[in-house]
Symmetry: C2
Subunit: 232 residues, 2 copies
DNA sequence: TCAACCCTTTGGTCGAGACCGAAAGGTGCG
DNA sequence: CGCACCTTTCGGTCTCGACCAAAGGGTTGA
């Protein structure tokens, strides 16, 4: 790289509350049409168009035309990592109203963090992976690297293949609700994929919160001991 | 934590170019008086006062009154980590003028990154630590944890004690010029302290770039093989 | 081909905040 | 004590950009 990084450029893109809401919405790693992001941010479609352009110019999101709509997604895992790091030092937004409180509980219980599970569920799963010796623990509260690729717990979860590539297999991601790290990287993605595949959890519309299905709750309780999803 | 993180709040503080310059200036982990930051950002003292207050309100910097001046420093290692993550996805600022090019070379050669060495020097030192088996390598390009606390290389560098505490001893920090990780955490700090203590390198005024002393260059060349600091 | 739908463009309003000069407030030094 | 120095406060200007309504363009499905 030449020259100093243009910190202000990237920060300006995130500085507008409406754009920040949009970024948090695409932090689930999914593609979202612009109209939906407009709703999430509480602005008119015309305004959303401007905002998405700004985010795309800054390299934060990528746009893919699909028919008469344009799908917006986070442009990469490095962006997700940077946003996560920022949320770690960001103050908490005060909870507004009953709907806000419910949304908050749902997010704390189980949600996606880009492409891996987070919240109480993500942390509990991570603790189990460490306990089983699948992932080692460098120091208390610090995730290490993958130790075993075969283990009954992985079979139980339905994680069969770990795609190899440039991407680290195990990465630690600090959970902003639990204040403890959860597993990200290729393993984190594989776990989330398995949970979704077998319908232990399902995605909710318009939010990163995950719904734990009854059968999923049962099987997760089996695996994680006393872990139980909160109501709603 | 309650509620969603207020991403926009923290981003807004960094969105102003003058404030971003100030943050990059205090990224060396040192304390800087406000007047100096005003110079670094190219604004009047009155403006700098406003900016520093904004950064302090956002929790990015801490202010400590000292006599007739007020010293500004980064408020913590977590903030440094977030800023680093942002610089990884930030576009490069175009280099302006001869002075800019020289500053650029100096920064690429050797600089501080919060409290540890970075740039070509930081990466070369890290490679040596990995080669000596002091720090292990999880996957190519990913730093692991501390393996040995005693080694001739550590003696040669003058690193005697590694302060234990809540802080991770070894942390990986992606270098934005070299695109490879260098050692951060307590070990990174200990190495920088040793280099400064024995005058292998000295701090420059008003910049994070480090000056490698002649004797330092000689001893570093001994340790790192063909490593040599660039001119200026 | 037409209508419905999603998005963008245009043009205009409006508020936020970045900036500075001048003057005032503290602090240290002689 | 008084001057020099660093910083803050105040008042004012001015630019930037967030926002929307209305109109236009492109796509899909009937």
């Amino acid at each position: 790289m030449n020259g100093e990084p243009d910190l202000a450029r990237i920060a300006r893109a995130l500085a507008e509350p409406a754009r920040a809401d949009m970024v948090l919405a695409v932090l689930d790693g999914q593609q979202h049409p612009i109209g939906e992001l407009a709703g999430a941010a509480g602005v008119a479609p015309a305004t959303a168009t401007d905002h998405v352009r700004e985010l795309a110019d800054a390299g934060i999101v990528a746009i893919e035309p699909r028919g008469r709509q344009r799908l917006v997604a986070l442009s990469g895992a490095d962006v997700a990592r940077a946003i996560e790091a920022l949320t770690e030092i960001a103050p908490a937004k005060p909870v507004r109203g009953l709907a806000g409180a419910e949304r908050n509980i749902a997010l704390r219980t189980a949600r996606t963090c880009y492409d891996h599970p987070a919240g109480a569920l993500g942390v509990a799963l991570t603790a189990r992976l460490v306990e089983d010796g699948i992932v080692d623990e460098l120091e208390p509260g610090t995730i290490g690297n993958l130790v075993r690729t075969e283990h009954p717990t992985l079979d139980y979860l339905g994680v069969t293949t770990l795609p190899a590539g440039r991407r680290p297999v195990v990465r630690s991601c600090l959970d902003w609700t639990e204040r403890r790290p959860h597993v990200a990287g290729a393993l984190g993605r594989a776990v989330l994929d398995a949970l979704l595949e077998d319908k232990w959890v399902t995605r909710r519309r318009d939010t990163r919160a995950l719904r734990v299905t009854p059968s999923g709750a049962e099987r997760l309780g089996e695996l994680l001991g006393d872990w139980k999803p909160a109501e709603t």
